[in-house]
Symmetry: C2
Subunit: 942 residues, 2 copies
Amino acid sequence: MKLVYLFSELDEVEKAVGGSWEEVRGLLGGKGANLAEMTRLGIPVPPGFTITTRACIAYLRRGERLPRGLWKQVQEALRAVESQTGKKFGEPGNPLLVSCRSGAKFSMPGMMDTVLNIGLNDETASGMIALTADPRFVYDSYRRLIQMFGSVVLGVPDEPFEEVLATYRQARRVASDAELAAADWEAITQEFKELVRTHTGREFPQDPQEQLRLAIEAVFKSWNGKRAVDYRNATGIPHDLGTAVNIQAMVFGNMGSDSGTGVATTRNISTGEKVIEGDYLINAQGEDVVAGIRLTKPIAQLAEELPQIYQEFLEICRKLEQHYREVQDIEFTIERGKLWILQTRDSKRSPRAAVRIAVELAEEGLITREEAVLRVTPDQVDFFLHPQFEPRAKQAALEDGRLIATGLNVSPGAAVGVVAFDADLAEKWSKEGKGEGDNKEKRVIMVRPETKPDDVHGMLAAQGILTSRGGRASHAALVARQFGKPAVVGCAALEIDLENRLMRVNGRVIKEGEYISIDGTEGQVFLGEIATMIPDIKDPYLMKLLSWADEFRRLGVRANADYPRDAKRARDYGAEGIGLCRTEHMFFEEERLPLVQKMILAKDAEERQRYLDQLLPFQRADFEGLFRVMDGLPVIIRLIDPPLHEFLPSYEALVRDVTKLRLAQRVPELLRVENPSKEDQALLEEVEKAGNGDLAAGIRKLLPEKERLLEAVEKMREANPMLGLRGVRLGIHMPEVTSMQVRAIFEAACKVAKEGVEVHPEVMIPITSHVNELKEQRAVLEEVAKRVMEEAGLELDYKFGTMIEIPRAAITADELARYAEFFSFGTNDLTQTVFGISRDDAEAGFLLEYQHKGILPNNPFATLDTTGVGKLMEMGVKLGRKVRPDLEVGICGEHGGDPASIEFCHRIGLDYVSCSPFRVPIARLAAAQAALRGKGLKRKED
Amino acid sequence: MKLVYLFSELDEVEKAVGGSWEEVRGLLGGKGANLAEMTRLGIPVPPGFTITTRACIAYLRRGERLPRGLWKQVQEALRAVESQTGKKFGEPGNPLLVSCRSGAKFSMPGMMDTVLNIGLNDETASGMIALTADPRFVYDSYRRLIQMFGSVVLGVPDEPFEEVLATYRQARRVASDAELAAADWEAITQEFKELVRTHTGREFPQDPQEQLRLAIEAVFKSWNGKRAVDYRNATGIPHDLGTAVNIQAMVFGNMGSDSGTGVATTRNISTGEKVIEGDYLINAQGEDVVAGIRLTKPIAQLAEELPQIYQEFLEICRKLEQHYREVQDIEFTIERGKLWILQTRDSKRSPRAAVRIAVELAEEGLITREEAVLRVTPDQVDFFLHPQFEPRAKQAALEDGRLIATGLNVSPGAAVGVVAFDADLAEKWSKEGKGEGDNKEKRVIMVRPETKPDDVHGMLAAQGILTSRGGRASHAALVARQFGKPAVVGCAALEIDLENRLMRVNGRVIKEGEYISIDGTEGQVFLGEIATMIPDIKDPYLMKLLSWADEFRRLGVRANADYPRDAKRARDYGAEGIGLCRTEHMFFEEERLPLVQKMILAKDAEERQRYLDQLLPFQRADFEGLFRVMDGLPVIIRLIDPPLHEFLPSYEALVRDVTKLRLAQRVPELLRVENPSKEDQALLEEVEKAGNGDLAAGIRKLLPEKERLLEAVEKMREANPMLGLRGVRLGIHMPEVTSMQVRAIFEAACKVAKEGVEVHPEVMIPITSHVNELKEQRAVLEEVAKRVMEEAGLELDYKFGTMIEIPRAAITADELARYAEFFSFGTNDLTQTVFGISRDDAEAGFLLEYQHKGILPNNPFATLDTTGVGKLMEMGVKLGRKVRPDLEVGICGEHGGDPASIEFCHRIGLDYVSCSPFRVPIARLAAAQAALRGKGLKRKED
């Protein structure tokens, strides 16, 4: 049986295995197959051969004995390599040196064993010195062989070798190995040999054949080493594949001025421009280019220095790109005027380059448009939507140790500003600037333990948001994503001391007004300023790519937007409607909140109605704006969702105030605290105002008011507000709120319809868990809608539907579909209830621990849990469509903007996904990729 | 077609419809069929006939015209009745009077129209007076005919008739109609006739035939009346059945000393004893017996007064009981020495009687044991398990208006005591008695807004518990049920003013120390004391019935018990193991809580381990006790479940204390409040103690301590603790807690096993939502269990399993079953998460509103929601058994003691239900009934 193939024998291999590339890789390993492929393309690859995985399997089965005939085949192949190179293995006059590398079918970076420079011994080393006149190079190569061989083959630990090197560096008072002289290397080589002897009780083998045989066997054995077995267990690679071994002639770029080495990409991987980019060095080894000790030259200069080589290289680049249909990252070495290609692989690239390259490759006809769409990752698209740190500035900050903390990366982009510890100050500094004179700083990062609805004005004004608590779906995270503000939340390392207006981070103190920079894409917090740049969403290549994506996707893409300005952005980014408008966000606006509070605290239905009547025009105006922007597209409006106490002052603050006021009744002056906290100060001002400066009078007036408010808030308090009186439960508890909202929607729709706008309102009920809730609310809606349309004298098409965000809704979806014309999966809440996990509490807490300990593969609030939550969704879709085949089904949870989740949504047959406006372009791409993969197309690396 | 049947023609009816009793009832209606049946049995029923439902259907179909031939058949039947009675319809000399009553296939109590005394007119009335010499009786009968006929047939409203009666009562200065004289009734009769004329424009018909025809038509028409249609819509009775009409000769018990009337049951319905019980009156009408104006005589006395009639009646009783195979409630009238049976029906009875009667009927061979088991309701069994109010004492309290509020009936039984507003006082008074001298009252009702774990000592000491907040699964409710304490919770009408030690209920004020009585079975709160009685669970009839139930059921019955004393009771009540032992309850005990708190606040793992080591012996001792009591039976022990902050002082209390102490730093004397609340007082004492009487020093010492504690509690606070760091999440977060608990379980098991006790420990993981949680905890358990058993030198069989109380657990039950040997459905939490409803917040809040508004058919925390929660359970059972066919599956939520839910558990194939010890007998019965019904057997009334 043939167990050894020359790189040049690929045709023969294909014949042997039946032609499939999969089988070729199985037999030769990935590395061996690629070397053979380049060889067949006529690329000048240093000659060599591959010992097949079958040989490895046989070796291990025979109890670690070389399979019969193998050694003979190796010798024959070696002879072929000798004749291809004109050198001879073990011949001091012109010695052939080879490398020995493992290479399995699937890349296993943790277990790759490599031995270089096999064939060097005392004799051949002398011969090499005579040949190259470079004893430094030869002894360095020799000692490398001994070190690698010792470690890989003989099991000598690496530390003693490194200690020897350290001793020499110290003795010569130099910092790096490169500064050691030839004599040093010769001495080191002796010491290394001595080390081998001490550790193994035998001499370093001088016989090149023995070196080779032992190296091959070591690679074979490494397949069953602990490292490799663990890696395969972790990644699911089968244990019976075995590894191939590649033996390849060594080439050296440091053999004079007609030698050199370099790396290049076939296009500019920063911009995507179609120009070869790279660096090289004459008379140097590959390591020298990487180490950066010598100043490299740009590849274009090679055209002058070695014009013929350069032309040859250009041609190779073209050929490789054509063959691999992708930009290549190529390593080459020139040995005495001969160009050798050591490696080629698909090149890494910047997001911007990725988009341009994919589009241009498709336009050049190298790949299809479908492939182009599959080649760009959603994350790469995300890059275009947010400010970024200048890559070099960020690198410098990292190197300077200015990265001080890491939290949850909940809203991408980079932001820089001065720290403000509350919303009012954040807004003030953002408007007026911080400091005196001309150099006022208006860029602010708002930093809070966590944020609440009444912090929103500060968050909007700030450049970015940083919190020490909260999870991926905390208020801060949701608002930040909604408005595209970079944000890092749940950054537990921050100790925020609001009283003293500073925060402590691992011993460092940052005061209010000092600069920080945050990277919401990575969840990083930096000290000081880092320069930023803003990429362009209107990039023509991106526009083209997304338009191709739109052709391929089946899923619609809508946006979650509450205000006309968000809707506008969403439409610009390609949204095909609004999948979720959260009406309660409108309630938090400054001039409305007091009305909302009065409405909630109303003592009877009549008083409540009075305040609802005052709220109606605000809501109507909001809806008018949305309808106008979304002319011709559907707009899903969700009725009020959160529990009412979210609109009232916090219980804790009231408890504090009332306790203070009660105690201060006898000594009002106590309210003047020495170092007042913000809360102390606010209360004092309130009391002074109430008493016209007379504290005692102020307390007498304010205390009963606060006590009443406290009582009201206490009554509304809930042990688990997430599972409390909210959503449709509120609508049933206070039907007049539903009526007001429905009236506002239909009055707005009628008004803009008369202006000629095409309106498609869809009214959505949240937190539904029982069909009767829908039945009841639908009756309320139909009555109001009918009345309003009669008043306006026109008929509008509209839909009535429900969120599916409670397990029971999904389980009884067939019942719900009798009353709902559309479903929208609220996967944030659904994930909470299906897992029984409160996202606010858990996401920066035990969920992190769970991921760390491997209990959960990832954060189910970021990526849909398809096994649990997904199964319920699938059930909901099926049950719902059984009853109402034309049921419209979408998703409006955070997952609607997550590519993996979008793929699942495509698979279970949703009609659309809805996400934050800033995620719309990503969703368009991800939806297209899901559709293409559904047809069996794959991303190249899949 | 034959449309009219005499009562005596049942055989003919059966022939016509094919013999099925169902069809007979369909044709004659329920009432007609029963009258015919009694007639066939030879029971003396006043003669009469039934116009079939078919006649009604035809009448309505023909546009309200009598079907052809009907009137002729009626006349023939009437003639037969005349010959049977020897009276003649419309004949003044000896007039036959008849009643006309509707009677549909299914009882429709809302629509039954009745006209009595048909056949009376001016002439026959005179004849009757001549015959009876009782003009008062005759005119009263006559005016009744006019009134009923006017209302039912002619549509005259009832009010004007009643006004006339009121005018006469006023004029005669009497309180009741009974006191009006014959002349009054004659005058009233005239006025009634006048009323008919005014309202209808026609005379009251004097022709008896016309009276009869109109009455029959009115009954036919009433089938389509609004009342009847609504009723059928609500109960699902088909609209095309029609109603039958029963025409029956009137008999009168007020025709002299050889006439009389009475009611009796064939056995004592209070005790169940086999003795006829009842009352009668000589020369009286049925109404007189019911009205209670005249003193009735016990039925036994009839043996002396009318011995022959009595003997005849006894024989009839025997016959009816034999025939109906059930105790009968019989109405009879004696008209001039002739006994007539007017009605018989299955008798209502007390719970105690229900049990004895069922057992004795079975032993007499009248019914089977299966039927006996089906005849007793679970609620009737519950009666034996709790103290009850003396029925008469309770009735009196109701009549006196002492029922002051109603709440949720969360734990059955009656309790009386003085109000105590906190646990310490409740305990103190329960031990030492309230008040001075000899008449100290030791019975206490503990009243709180809601209860917390550290109230348990007071709850245990009290007779009963009353709260103004909380739901069916609130802490108060759970603990009360657990310990069989009567409790009413969520009684929103109570305004508890802890500061002033009183509560207000609808304007009434009840001070601490005053008496109240509560009925946990009904959810009622009474002012003052009501006498109670304690039924006996050891009732021999009950014991026998339950032993029969045990033979029939397939479901096992276990108990939820945390302490040996509960386990003992459970076993006494027939539990076959412990389905749930909540280990954390043990943590709340007085001497352990401080250790638990220190463990939680430990600064590192080492310190934590120190406190865990101290807790271990306590837990071990608890488990030893449980294992001993449950010798030979399985004991499921659930590892720690609640979030840790439940073991710490409340956040709000700490906020208050810290705020006060901070403010009082400058003026310590402020801590001495004028009317200190309990909290004020407690803080003051704490400060005095800390400062040895020096307040300033006390504050200096206490404030930093409290601040530290507040910080710790604040860190652990959760927005939604129900969905937070609890259950298995804690076990994973602090594996050392799991280790300690598992060690305690296995050390205890090994110790008692060595004593010869047969132990079957089953260790259960709560709040599981992902298979990896089980995998991880199982590894911890196995390691510890193995080590402990090695130390003890023995091997024990044990099981490892999980609660299924999170939707995801049910959805992925196949994955969980790979690591779990048993499942236990925690339907309390499962209902919360499937509905997205926090029981504590909602149960006394919007869930009540939901039931009131018909959104939910009932409280899903009391009776399993089979459509939603049940569907997930079914899914969990199926998925789990698919992977592990011998998986043991039970339920340990509150629903495990609810009969309807037990039936569902039987149907989906659970192995057992587990409930509070006090529900075990009920569960045994309900499980048997579920099994019997599963075989097609029905309760009589099903």
